[in-house]
Symmetry: C2
DNA sequence: TAGATTGTTAATCGATTAACAATC
DNA sequence: TAGATTGTTAATCGATTAACAATC
């Protein structure tokens, strides 16, 4: 299966219970969660599959069906308690905790990612930023971090227990960096480089490439 | 239809001829193109659906089927000429030209986007960067650009003929900014803010949100 | 009670794949 | 010619939707 910015190589070991839930359903849950939290911020307490569907441009049936894979979270006649459903989705997605993330690449994009304040509230914390450039190593970045030497990746992984990496490196370096990440034991990679990586099947790779989105859009333009 | 970073509200007017080609197929073409160009950079001249499929982790049948919507680009027994197929895909995607793009938001992420060198070779040029912050307006950014006042959006659109915008603004400002973009006549928006925008159906919106990818990945983690 | 909305079923719709004749 | 690979068909597989009984 190919996904990009939404495409990613899927397929990996799952626990029995989860084996049958389609990956495409899992992919929508974070969007549901994000929307519910915005509603909660608005002071809303209850919503319905219809309201959610209208917000997201999808059918209410799809939302109910998606949620039904995991349990019964609503009340007939009333809808869903927003806080409760957020909590449930966070549990399902395993973001009822904070995951350490290692960022590779301290260029302009890496710096932007390191500066981004909202990861923490979503379940993620960037615990290390690494680069190969001796000019950059040692410099401060993000919230009280210092750029580390990519050669010390193994130590960073061991110290942090990170399973997830973000790659903000040039395309020509990406496969080599990815190999090192896999070697170091990471199993989840979010790749901003415009290249499809080769990785063992136990490693999940997802991609973010604005060009893919632009080119998708221009198909419909004149 | 919901897509994110791969999800996006689809559905819009298309010319007759294209009406029947699934959007999901269009979404894969940029990835094919990207891969073919990497092969070309490697000095390769010919490839096959099987080789491409192995690179991308998808079936050769899917690649052949996808391409068959647009014509016959290969030779039995030989495969595809890489340069030729690149050219064809560029035509199909309408990136055999340069599209002007307006970037809104000159924060850390906006700056990274403005600095990105590779848009031009993919069919895009950032022609204006706009922000509301008087502290930022007038400052240089990207390749010889100056941050413009978002209030002058209308003029920028008129001057450049841009149809595409990228939003790198905080979530709380995103809907307001999007409204202005639509008002100014833009019809394609790539949104980095973690929020699903409301927009008229003639406006195509796609999203990039790393948190959505992270949370998708953590579902499979322990 | 009347109205609203869930969770679920079955039908529909659409996408992917396997297979193969055509042919380079 | 023999081997390889395309483009296409038909079958399979999977996802979405409409509809509705259950029930708050």
């Amino acid at each position: 299966m190919l996904r990009e910015g939404g495409y990613a190589v899927a397929s990996d070991a799952r626990v029995q219970e989860k084996a049958s839930i389609p990956d495409i359903v899992i992919g929508r849950l974070p969007v549901y969660l994000r929307t519910l939290r915005l509603l909660a911020d608005d002071g809303r307490e209850v919503t319905s599959s219809q309201e959610l569907g209208e917000h997201l441009g999808i059918s209410s049936a799809q939302i109910r069906k998606d949620l039904s894979h995991f349990g019964e979270f609503g009340k007939q006649g009333t809808g869903y308690n927003i806080d409760f459903l957020c909590q449930q989705l966070q549990k399902i997605l395993n973001v009822d905790r904070i995951w350490p993330v290692i960022l590779v690449g301290a260029g302009s994009l890496g710096t932007a990612i390191a500066n981004y304040q909202e990861f923490e509230s979503s379940g993620f914390r960037i615990v290390a930023v690494m680069d190969e450039d001796p000019q950059k190593i040692g410099k401060p970045i993000g919230q009280g971090l210092q750029i580390g030497d990519f050669a010390d990746l193994g130590r960073s992984v061991a110290d942090s227990g990170a399973q997830i990496a973000v790659m903000a490196v040039p395309a020509h370096a990406a496969q080599r960096v990815a190999n090192e990440l896999v070697e170091a034991g990471l199993n989840s990679i979010l790749c901003y480089a415009p290249i499809t990586l080769s990785a063992p099947s136990h490693v999940r790779v997802e991609y973010i490439d604005p060009v893919v989105h632009f080119q998708h859009m221009t198909y419909y333009l004149r």
